[in-house]
Amino acid sequence: MPDVTTISQPPSRLQLFTDKTFRHLCQGFAWLTVISIAFILVKIILAGVPAMRQYGFGFITGTTWDPNTGQFGILPEIWGTLYSSILALIVGTAFGVAGAIFLTEGYLGEFVFDLLKLLHLHFHPFWGKLPLRIEDLLKNLIELLAAIPSVVYGLWGIFVVIPLIRPACNWLHLKMGWLPVFGTDLSGPGMLPAVLVLSIMILPTITAISRDALVSVPPKLRMAAYGLGATRWETILAVTLPTAARGVFGGVVLAFGRALGETMALAMLVGNSNKISVSLFSPANTLAALLANNFPEAQKKEVAVLMYAALVLLAITLLVNILGAFILQRASVQSTGGK
């Protein structure tokens, strides 16, 4: 056995020096993170200021975008951003929350278990684990939706979604064109394909956060409801969902932030036309798509104006994201009993 004193000894001066340096280094990098993020925000804000001085508030209420005459207004883009995001949020929330309920209620696991029971394999050391494994697989599959790059969704939207929904959309326009939402026909890119693809992109966020909220509902509450004779859906609607409501809502708000800032799929699908229309089939534009399409070829003057548009987008998304984070934080405080 080696001598104890050689193993354990007070740190040498060099070690103490390295320790101090490393600690300061870590702190320095933490400062660097905060400062660089502050720098990013300040840089975007400052870049927008010159155009803000020149165009003022009229920029937000203007409806034409013409670099040749120097007329710039982003009301159609603000409208398109909000309209597409809200519609996508409605579709995404319906399917996302349904997915979260499906995952937490163990439908698939029960089904596989019953299937195994028929084959007398439900306590088998390998097959018996299958229900849990399949539920896990389903959860991962939904999360994979989030891993596919948005430009690939855009490509898929152009060559699959638009040709697929176009006949149905034009039929709806023909038969029910008097309704403002069907007021135009779909001649290619437009609001509806953009909304559909956008809702697929935000669905995993909603499902993941809602699932976490539903799982953290104390099992006692559910059991109590079942004990009182409630059916599965009476329990879900009256006990589980209301208890998890704040977490679900926080997820929806975060997904809204995502939808507002999503760029590529919209730039490829929304049609890039400065129109304010409630029609689902009309081409439109969003702030992020405006930036993506106009920035690469913009002249110096237009760049300054685009920076102003970026500033408006930043303000909207920051507001929504901070709100969502705040709601989620309150939800977790509530579910841990105020700890």
């Binding site: 990013i40 399917f95 898929w156």
Partner: protein, 308 residues
């Protein structure tokens, strides 16, 4: 005390007058019927939600797969109306941009995470770092491009791989930082205390105990961030731009030149009216999705290993 029991009440049947058939679950009752219908509805909706995933994968394999060949990796993008061609330069460009972005993000992310995991909970700086990272998780990717354009492209006077890498690194930072902090926090306190009890300095504890133990978790964060960064298009559109030439010529790396990337190639070619370009866009999408999914799944598998 003398035991004086009052006469027992007559025994009554608590279930008297109750129809047991009432308690049976039957689909004829509206309550159970509604429950069953809603169960069916969420099942169908979940399956419908998965259709796009399979449709995307099927289309990628079908339309991208038949164009897959070695030429794609060795040739340059074709001009309009030209046949054949590939996107070798875009693959190399994507790898260069991602490598640079990872080099920028990993030291900042991990050292900040070490600070966060070691800091006292009431530390103002730690709270600020966490808040900043959360703000970045919801940061629109196009704005990262706007920032890099204003800060780097205008400063250096041209589009470059460096500007693209900085824009992408902004989007990678929160993933790396927050997962690394979680991974370091999951290291059992006992191990840390044992190291300190042996007389190790904080630095020695961090390097010999915390980081090696948390390594799989940290690597997961890095892989997930790379998977996200590789697919980002918006921040590259007006920072790295695109190029029809190789980023490496005669053994020289051109970091200050416009650089091609798979994502921007897909975006540019998807809108073109030429079949050849559209086919290449699908093939590029297949390559990009394979790259992203393999990185993502490897990262998740590594992370699962640590949890056990």
């Amino acid at each position: 005390m003398s035991a004086h029991n009052p006469p027992l009440p007559a025994v009554t049947d608590p279930f008297e007058g109750l129809d047991f058939a009432e308690l049976e679950m039957s689909l004829r009752r509206p309550r159970t019927l509604v429950s069953a219908l809603l169960s069916g509805l969420v099942t169908v909706m979940t399956l419908v939600a998965l259709v796009p995933l399979f449709s995307v994968i099927f289309m990628l394999v079908w339309r991208g797969g038949h164009r897959l060949s070695l030429h794609l990796f060795t040739q340059l993008p074709p001009a309009a109306l030209e046949q054949g061609g590939g996107f070798g330069n875009a693959i190399v460009g994507t790898l260069i941009i991602i490598a640079l972005a990872t080099l920028i993000t990993v030291p900042i992310g991990i050292l900040s995470a070490v600070f966060l995991a070691q800091a006292k909970p009431e530390s103002r700086l730690a709270q600020a770092v966490r808040f900043a990272a959360k703000v970045l998780t919801g940061f629109p990717s196009i704005l990262a491009g706007v920032f890099a354009y204003g800060a780097i492209v205008l400063l250096t006077g041209g589009y470059s791989a460096i500007a693209g890498a900085i824009a992408v690194s902004i989007l990678m930072l929160p993933t790396i930082l927050l997962t690394a902090e979680d991974a370091i926090r999951m290291v059992p306190v006992k191990m840390q205390e044992a190291a300190i009890g042996m007389g190790a300095t904080t630095t020695q504890t961090v390097w010999m105990v915390l980081l090696p133990t948390a390594f799989p978790g940290i690597l997961t964060g890095i892989m997930l961030a790379i998977a996200r960064g590789a697919g980002e298009t918006a921040p590259l559109l007006f920072t790295a731009l695109f190029s029809n030439y190789w980023p490496i010529t005669n053994g020289q790396l051109h970091l200050m030149q416009p650089t091609a990337s798979l994502a921007v190639l897909i975006y540019n070619f998807a809108g073109m009216p030429f079949d050849n370009q559209v086919e290449l866009a699908w093939a590029a999408a297949l390559v990009l999705v394979l790259l992203v999914l393999v990185t993502n799944l490897t990262g998740q598998a590594l992370g699962r290993r640590q949890v056990r």
